[in-house]
Symmetry: D2
Subunit: 351 residues, 4 copies
């Protein structure tokens, strides 16, 4: 059974390889009558697109989205919305070197093992470009959530070993790291630029905060809010970890410390991270993900070729030295998709 | 849309509250012709059941499983298998104190907000007892996986602030912490016993290692193996974090460090944790989860009652001072369910 | 992927063989706070149970239902409801004759081909007894639908070649055929009694009328109301055909005859049968199913055994000479499950 | 929950309105390594396209399909395949008359009730043009089925009251009715041409025969082969009935007549229509559908407008006087989708 769909009542199905004809998404379950413009979707895609700054890949991609169905006179009709982004023509010769070798950290080996065939052009289906469809769909979910009074904001919390000491949500779009601390950002940038020059990369931690969610979202026992958020985030190629609220720090805490007591005004603390028993409390939902260093580096690496012979590989092209700034809008999009789906699921339960 | 099912080609649906008539599970997609005994399932349930040692709750529960369908002359028929565990009669008076108050760290508040009604007896559907169904189903998945050559083993890696320094998989069932390091276990136990005496609790980290999996499992782009494992683990009530391979430590690594290079014999390192692009590499799958301190403590805590008045609460009854030893078989069960489902999904793709 | 679940937002999963430990169903998606008694469910099961009259099997089955979860203080909690009916002990010797032979019209051959193993006791999973779970779940859906103002009523329209000329919905439960025409019923009964004496059986047509449904239910383009009703009905073992509104008679009509025109008060005719474009119009939903003659007959039949040798078979036991009267409550139950699911789906769309 | 997807292991999701940007489909679960050309898909679309003859609409549509993903060097990669057909520019003025009126027999009224908004251009999502996506996806399923040795053929059995007396599968593509009897076809054509001149339409019956299917396909208890076929067929806008094997004629048969006995060479008769207990027997699968007269007629009809006022309507444009010839390839496509899905489901069960 294929795994290219996500969500139930609000559901997306993505398609496309980085160098096929197009990438995109079908969005199902969008409420009818929602005013929607292509510009609103494009705005989110522009936050994800390559070539934004010195800490992202200078590669240019044609990330122009088209709405092909489900819209009539500027409003959603309640039927399937196809969002498509056409690919630029690939230059086949650019992939001659990776065609026969498995790039370390990439899905080259596993795709071949799984499917017995591999579209090696720009990672094919395993390309980060696939997330464009998610971001486009997420822009629709975000718009509906905004109407519900929900805000979703993510940012770089740590990168290249530099941690943000302060959290200022107002400056995130003002620095190319999308960090929440200007001082930290100013230290991250030169470090990452140097890594880029060396042909290397680094990782980081991205944090996401969601406010305005009603209490009661989440479907026991498997589709807990944090379970679906974890799945959403771990379905991003570069993510190696997920934690909510206290996260891994809970391991050494006592119950008397960790339990969030309540008073007349609500919860006194939020170690839970906005969910109890997998259901939202109405408090801020806060989670973090671990982002691995970009696999594409231009340093020489050791690997094997299709024949199993040991070879060296040097992936050409210009890649993101740190994926954090560009994964921020993807994290937000996935969070929006999870939440909008659960809003609808809760409605369908209690009716 | 309800959330009580898990898996696709190998699928379970659980039911039951801690003090209703029964808890249990329907297991669908079990291959026909598999020899199966109730004892094989009971053996896994016995690892999960209360009352095992001084670091688990001394509470006794009737955890006897019955196979009600899908079995004929000792073999599975390929149809739905109902596994049921009857509950002992509840003593309604035992819940008078928690009936009108929200226990900190519990799902009391959120269940009431979600459903408008709450079965307050022993946490109702949010009880850890619900995982008995998962363990019972997991025992079947485990048996099939063993035939496939797959082994799944979890253990306590850290508890009460004590970290295991060594990993010895042979001693896990020989210590009541189910820790992988006897020295660490011998330090954990007195610490946790003391916390229990104080009416407090603690958390920990559980690690899981899966060996023998073929390369090629995992369904891009959403149902990546690590995404489904993360969802499975985060769907357990006490889990606050999930990481695979390098996990959160990847954040400060360089790409040239993190990328697992290959040579003639396979992968040289395993920072990936057994998966690339969401598909198994054939290497060991290794992940960790963060287990929060048990919410049920007998210390006096501050909370509010149904009327929103500030009150104190002291949950009676004897609870697990640390859930790690008992969550280990649940983690293994959920991992087995994910893997068996993906084995079947892979088969259905390539046929 | 297994096929033992039905519905999405309101979903059931059935389990059980006719001679295993139990049959039953998990019902998910029931709205919380619904008052529910075991008697309400039992009442529907009693309409389905064997031994009701001279035109049903005189076989007695223990059809007592138990609610094992999802209910608290007489109200639904919004979580999974397990309904279980224990089987009486089977008498293994009773099946010696059918153990090695394929009964004509039964699923013996196909189950063995599919699963490689066959629970031959009383048809195993293919037994009509499996529908008890559907009827039990349908009783819950029916109760909710009644609150919504929806009524669902089915009846025998034709049996043993006798057609009902009049439709009187008030007399359906007053005749053992559950026919809508007393005159027709009085002709059907002696005919069917004679067939029973001859060890033979007959078929019929059951019609179902649903009133009070709001316009707007049905999910284009695949989950049209009539598509889901057809699937629901064709999933019953004895059903060979389904038609809605004009049904097969539409084949020789003109568009100018068939199109239902509208005036100020609504639709003038109802050839559509209550749905246009797969979405309810608000008019009466009316459909019919073809019920095949019961496969179990005591006449001598020709078949083959497991070794492929030609043999004769005479199925002992007392069977329904016509399944119509007992399939009526099953048809209603399945219709209720489809409608309640679509009510919830519609809510989740427009919110 | 939206209803625009069909199938599980082999799954399609369609999108598009008749006058939006495009119509099409995502196909998931296609086995990797399958050689596939755009021409193979186009060939099936050409059988469905308008303008083929005097008994189909003379309207011309641009039915050129493009493969946008999931193909690499002429072979499927095992990932999502997007098939897209761009729409020609609509002439908005052409819809002025139907904009404010509900066309009898069409989904105008129900779409407005359901969604509160209606894309009135050419029926929007309810247009028959939506089936182009199904046919395109079905062409892929058909190719795989052919490799499995399965053939699927449908044809007009009856139209305008004329029944085919003979069944000659070789002449179906040789007559514009796609009928199985040349004599009958030669009577149907002038009748239907006259109806077209009168601005009227007629219905018919389409029969489908599937050969070469292995025994064992179908998933009890809900996803029986005939249940999934019925759903597939009843999800086509013009279909009012479905029957398999003996179908509605079973109602007046005796069990001793209807039961298909077996001998050494297999089943002696095939009243079952190729399935027992919802599982394929290996015999020919044979089913029929009732096709209603085309709703679009140019005769003056009575209806109401958006304000509920009684008005007359005359739908301009040239429509199919009988949809049978063009629904034949759609029926085949849907049957292929059901079968390929069940082949995969069976594989995933027994592994």
């Amino acid at each position: 059974m294929p795994g290219s769909s996500f969500g139930h009542c609000f559901r997306i199905s993505t398609f496309g390889e980085s160098h096929g004809g197009a990438v995109g998404v079908i969005v199902d379950g969008v409420k009818p009558g929602l005013p929607l413009t292509v510009e609103e979707i494009q705005a989110q895609l522009d936050r994800r697109k390559p070539g934004q700054s010195s800490v992202t890949t200078p590669r240019k991609e044609l990330d122009e989205v088209h709405i092909m169905s489900g819209l009539f006179e500027g409003k959603t009709t309640g039927t399937s919305i196809l969002l498509i982004l056409y690919n630029k023509d690939a230059i086949p010769s650019a992939y001659n070197d990776i065609k026969d070798k498995f790039r370390p950290g990439h899905a080259d080996f596993t795709f071949l093992k799984k499917y017995g065939i591999r579209d090696y052009r720009g990672s094919g289906r395993a390309s980060g470009r696939e997330t464009a469809g998610r971001v486009a769909a997420g822009a629709i979910a975000r718009k509906i959530l905004n109407e519900r009074g929900v805000s979703v904001i993510a940012y770089t919390k740590e990168a290249a070993g530099i941690k943000c000491e302060n959290i200022n949500l107002d400056i995130i779009e003002d620095n190319i790291m999308r960090a929440c601390d200007m001082d930290a950002a100013s230290k991250m940038v030169p470090l990452i630029e140097r890594l880029a020059e060396e042909g290397d990369s680094t990782g980081g931690i991205v944090e996401c905060r969601i406010n305005g969610v009603i209490p009661g979202l989440g479907e026991p026992v498997f589709d807990k809010i944090e379970a679906d958020l974890a799945k959403a985030m771990m379905s991003l190629g570069a993510v190696k970890g997920f934690e909510i609220g206290s996260g891994f720090s809970c391991a050494s805490m006592k119950g008397s410390e960790h339990n969030d007591s309540m008073n007349k005004t609500g919860f006194v603390t939020n170690n839970a991270g906005g969910t109890l028993g997998g259901i939202t409390t109405g408090e801020e939902i806060i989670f973090r993900i671990a982002v691995k260093p970009t696999s594409s580096i231009s340093k020489i690496q050791k690997t094997v070729n299709l024949e199993g012979e040991e070879v060296e590989i040097k992936t050409e092209g210009r890649h993101d030295p740190c994926i954090c700034p560009r994964i921020v809008p993807v994290v937000e999009a996935m969070a929006c998709l999870v939440l909008e789906d659960h809003y609808k699921r809760q409605e369908s339960l209690t009716i």
